[in-house]
């Protein structure tokens, strides 16, 4: 197990387990309530597998009414609830609580409506990200955000994490592609926001819900916008003798007014791992490799590719290849898309980190990472969404070697602190969860975090939903609500007034 501590379970709640299971069975009949230890095992972790915890009980509702009744019961009886989608969180967002109900939304797996004229699709939250595209691609449409786990991850989880993917610079994140939600609050109240119209009314609760890591409400229905597939897509594979030149090439492409559909960079260890694994034909003698994908009308793609070739040459690219067929384009991507398993092949275990940095800081961060690697005695390979500055360092370690997991976690924390130091952030798309919870103080002041926690108080005053995630220190809502303002006259005699 890793080193991050979870809130101490409430023994009084654990003692009431039989009673809670019975109450849940009255709400969700049959196999929808799981309390046998061996059957609960599959829920004990998500994709942050170093952390495991059996929940008190697992419940799988299949109607909104059941979700509302479960949450209302738990609210009235002060029982914690951890919502879960497909369980692909890389930050421990779905880690169960020993004294909490695990609420799986995976029975909500239906596409409810496809509305092509309004370019909107209404789905239940357990539908996978790729499942949305699969439902509409026959008619030439797709759902734009494409996190690398898209074959498995659920749209409800995408809402929780505001998932991105390789196309987010041009097509946005989940938050830019969601039109409406139905959700259930911890009190059991059902709320609908937005719809098929483009802007939702009143306060922007869509914005608050997206990226809230399951702490504010449980999503029961999602309306997303879909896009017409681009007419064509072509990619360029460009190798550089140094990461500085690669970084400059990226800056020059954007400086030329070009926003590629995708722009991915890999460092030497990642290139070699990927090439050994899938034989994508990547050059081995380069320090940095850039995949630039352009999508859109053919005339535009051809025109821009020639511009990009010029820019790459001006930045001393040592290899430039441009795809001439769909097969060739897919080969360029094959290595990048297999980067994580490829690294898994050369190391028994790896930690996937997720910081975002200003692009210009990339050479400094890569150099800093090499030094940190020596300090912690571990190797790191990097893949980088170069368009939007999202960096995924993969730290290689062996959990069977005593102390290596702890060293990898310490190395990871140091990398994220470096990201913050250069003006970046702790997490670009994987979420804070438990993994980065205790680093939040590096980015935010006490006042910053308290204002965030007050938002939670508006949704979940008893703080029962997904506890122990995101915030390093828990404060009661009553305490957060207290005002500390001194009485007095205008304390600012100098302010201009009229």
């Amino acid at each position: 197990m890793g080193s991050i501590a979870m809130p101490k379970p409430d023994d009084a709640v654990i003692a009431r387990r039989q009673e809670i299971v019975k109450a849940l069975r009255a709400i969700v009949p049959g196999e929808g309530v799981i309390d046998a230890e061996e059957e609960m095992r599959v829920y004990e972790t998500d994709a942050l597998t170093a952390y495991r915890q059996l929940p008190l009980v697992v419940v799988l509702p299949d109607t909104v009414e059941q979700v509302a009744a479960v949450l209302r019961y738990c609210h009235e009886n002060e029982v914690k609830v951890v919502p879960r989608g497909a369980g692909t969180s890389l930050s421990g967002g779905a880690l169960p609580a020993a004294d909490g109900v695990l609420l799986s939304m995976m029975k909500f797996n239906r596409v409810l409506e496809i509305d092509y004229p309004n370019r909107a699709v209404v789905v239940q939250p357990g539908v996978t990200n790729l499942g949305i595209t699969r439902a509409v691609e026959g008619d030439g449409f797709y759902y734009a955000p494409d996190p690398s786990s898209q074959i498995a991850c659920s749209i409800g989880g995408n809402i929780a994490e505001n998932s991105g993917g390789v196309h987010s610079l041009k097509y946005g994140l989940t938050t830019n592609n969601v039109l409406g939600l139905e959700m259930v609050l911890m009190t059991g109240e059902v709320i609908r926001i937005g719809g098929k119209h483009l802007d939702s009314e009143g306060y922007d609760f869509l914005a608050l819900m997206t990226g809230s890591e399951g702490l504010l409400g449980v999503v029961t229905e999602v309306t997303v916008r879909i896009l017409q597939k681009p007419e064509t897509a072509r990619a360029a594979l460009i190798g550089f003798p140094s990461s500085e030149e690669c970084g400059q090439c990226v800056a020059d492409i954007i400086g030329a007014g070009i926003i590629p559909g995708g722009m991915e960079m890999m460092d030497k260890p990642a290139i070699h791992a990927a090439e050994d694994f899938v034989h994508a034909g990547y050059p081995r003698d380069v320090e940095a490799l850039l995949i630039v994908e352009l999508d859109g009308p053919e005339a535009e793609v051809d025109f821009l590719l020639s511009r990009i070739e010029e820019i790459a040459r001006a930045n001393k690219a040592s290899t430039i290849r441009v795809s001439h067929s769909e097969e060739e384009r897919m080969t360029y991507w094959a290595g990048r898309k297999a980067a994580f398993p490829a690294v898994g092949r050369i190391s028994p275990d790896y930690l996937c980190m997720d910081g975002t940095i200003p692009r210009k800081a990339l050479p400094r961060v890569l150099a800093g990472m090499r030094e940190l690697g020596q300090k912690h005695g571990l190797r790191v390979a990097n893949v980088f969404h170069a368009g939007d500055g999202n960096l995924h360092p993969l730290i290689l370690y062996d959990a069977n070697n005593p102390g290596e997991l702890a060293a990898a976690e310490a190395f990871g924390a140091d990398i994220l602190l470096l990201c913050v130091e250069v003006g970046g952030v702790l997490t670009g798309e994987h979420g804070v969860g438990i993994e980065k919870r205790d680093l939040m103080g590096a980015m935010f002041t006490e006042d910053d975090l308290k204002q965030q926690q007050r938002v939670k108080c508006a949704f979940d005053e008893k703080q029962l939903l997904n506890p122990g995630k995101v915030f390093p220190v828990l404060h009661r809502c009553a305490e957060l609500g207290r005002m500390h303002v001194s009485k007095g006259k205008l304390p600012f005699p100098d302010i201009p007034r009229f």
């Binding site: 609908r192 508006a458 005002m483």
Partner: protein
């Protein structure tokens, strides 16, 4: 005594807010004041003017990032971006002509507070889709920051986005960071003449469902088209991008609509001028009739107008591929119940009373009334940011 307070930095703003909390003195928050007549009239003894907290803090074209103080005039920001061939891609509308009789005075803070957007909303979203981070003073009298200065960030709740469209009722931004984008090298508008409203919706839907990457789609009926230099009912499709791409996509649309369609082309300058006029609701800038802004599903807009026209005298045009319906009532009565009932019949969305006398905006909720549970959640959120109710009390909803 009524005061107008004009702090020059975040620290002075903090002092002003603390003073207001301590004395229980509600504040009407303004910057340039171009949208002062939007929403419910604020009952406050004092005015807090944020236009003194101004200036571009940091602009890095290669990073596509802009950090700016909230009182900075939008025109100044747009000029700075233009110099480097970039823009705020969501094309923030200017309510000045419609509400204040003067264009070009709005500020960044007002843009965030109103979550402004323009005709490119279809492709590029609104202010909330481009904001990355902010520093603000809450109604609790605390400075806080949220978000960051990078494009991709999920560290904590997305407060920057959530504060967009909160009309200064939760917290007051002092510094805001945005994602900016390269300006399109070229633009053109394809006009299809003579389509009836429902046919126009079908044409816009076909265009938006094609791979022509239409960035704006609007329908202007004959009566309003004349004021924009067009004749007869005009269905407008805007294409932006690199020159060869715009021409290629224009031709693909011409093929899509076939040779029977009456198609014209507006080039760069004329196209830009037309969309700017639609962005700022210029067809209704003249006159004083109540103006509504209705947001419905794109295919429902034409039906909404037809439905209302059966019983009321209204002028209307549609942006956002039909989904944004601007309505001007011919009489002085906003006919709120009829408009809102028609929006419901059109499948839902919302109707905002944008222009009306203050006495009307006091009795008719200018913002769409919410369901009980959603209204209660909104009220709880307001209380978490502004427990004393000193920031623009009553601006969005009566009572808080």
């Amino acid at each position: 005594m009524a005061e107008t307070l004009k702090p020059r930095d975040a620290r002075e703003l903090l002092d002003a807010v603390k003073w207001a909390i301590a004395g229980d003195e509600p504040l009407e928050v303004i910057s340039a004041g171009t949208k002062r007549d939007f929403g419910r009239p604020v009952q406050a003894g004092h005015v807090l003017d944020l236009s003194g907290i101004a200036g571009i803090v940091d602009y890095e074209p290669a990073e596509l990032i802009l950090t700016v103080k909230a009182g900075t005039p939008l025109a100044e920001v747009e000029a700075a971006l233009d110099e480097r061939g970039q823009e705020l891609a969501f094309e923030p509308m200017d309510y000045g002509p419609l509400l204040a009789g003067e264009a070009g005075r709005g500020t960044i803070g007002g843009m965030v507070g109103a979550n402004l957007a323009g005709p490119k909303r279809l492709k590029h979203g609104a202010a909330r889709d481009h904001i990355l981070g902010l520093e603000a003073v809450s109604g609790r009298g605390e400075i806080f920051k949220a978000g960051g200065r990078v494009v991709k960030n999920v560290t904590g709740y997305d407060l920057p986005r959530a504060l967009c469209g909160s009309w200064g009722t939760l917290a007051l931004a002092t510094e805001v960071t945005f994602k900016v984008l390269p300006k399109a090298e070229s633009e053109a508008t394809l006009i299809i003449a003579g389509l009836a409203p429902q046919e126009a919706t079908e044409a816009m839907t076909r265009a938006m469902g094609s791979s022509a990457e239409v960035s704006s789609a609007a329908f202007l009926p004959g009566g309003l088209a004349a004021g924009q230099g067009l004749s007869g009912d005009a269905t407008l499709l805007r294409l932006e991008g690199f020159g060869p791409s715009v021409d290629y996509r224009f031709e693909s649309l011409v093929r899509l609509f076939g040779k029977d369609a009456k198609i014209e082309r507006l080039d760069q300058a004329a196209s830009k001028a037309l969309w700017k006029a639609l962005r700022d609701c210029m067809p209704f800038a003249e006159g004083a009739g109540p103006v509504w802004r209705c947001s419905v599903a794109p295919t429902a807009g034409a039906g909404l107008v037809a439905d209302l026209s059966r019983s009321l005298a209204v002028d209307a045009f549609q942006d956002w591929s039909g989904g944004l319906v601007w309505l001007r009532m011919t009489g002085s009565d906003p006919q709120a119940e009829a408009v809102r009932a028609a929006v419901k019949r059109a499948g839902g969305g919302h109707a905002t009373l944008v222009r009306a006398d203050s006495s009307l905006r006091n009795t008719i909720p200018p913002f769409e009334p919410q369901s009980e549970a959603l209204a209660a959640l909104s009220q709880r959120l307001k209380a978490q940011f502004d427990p004393s109710g000193i920031l623009n009390p009553g601006r969005m909803v009566a009572g808080h």
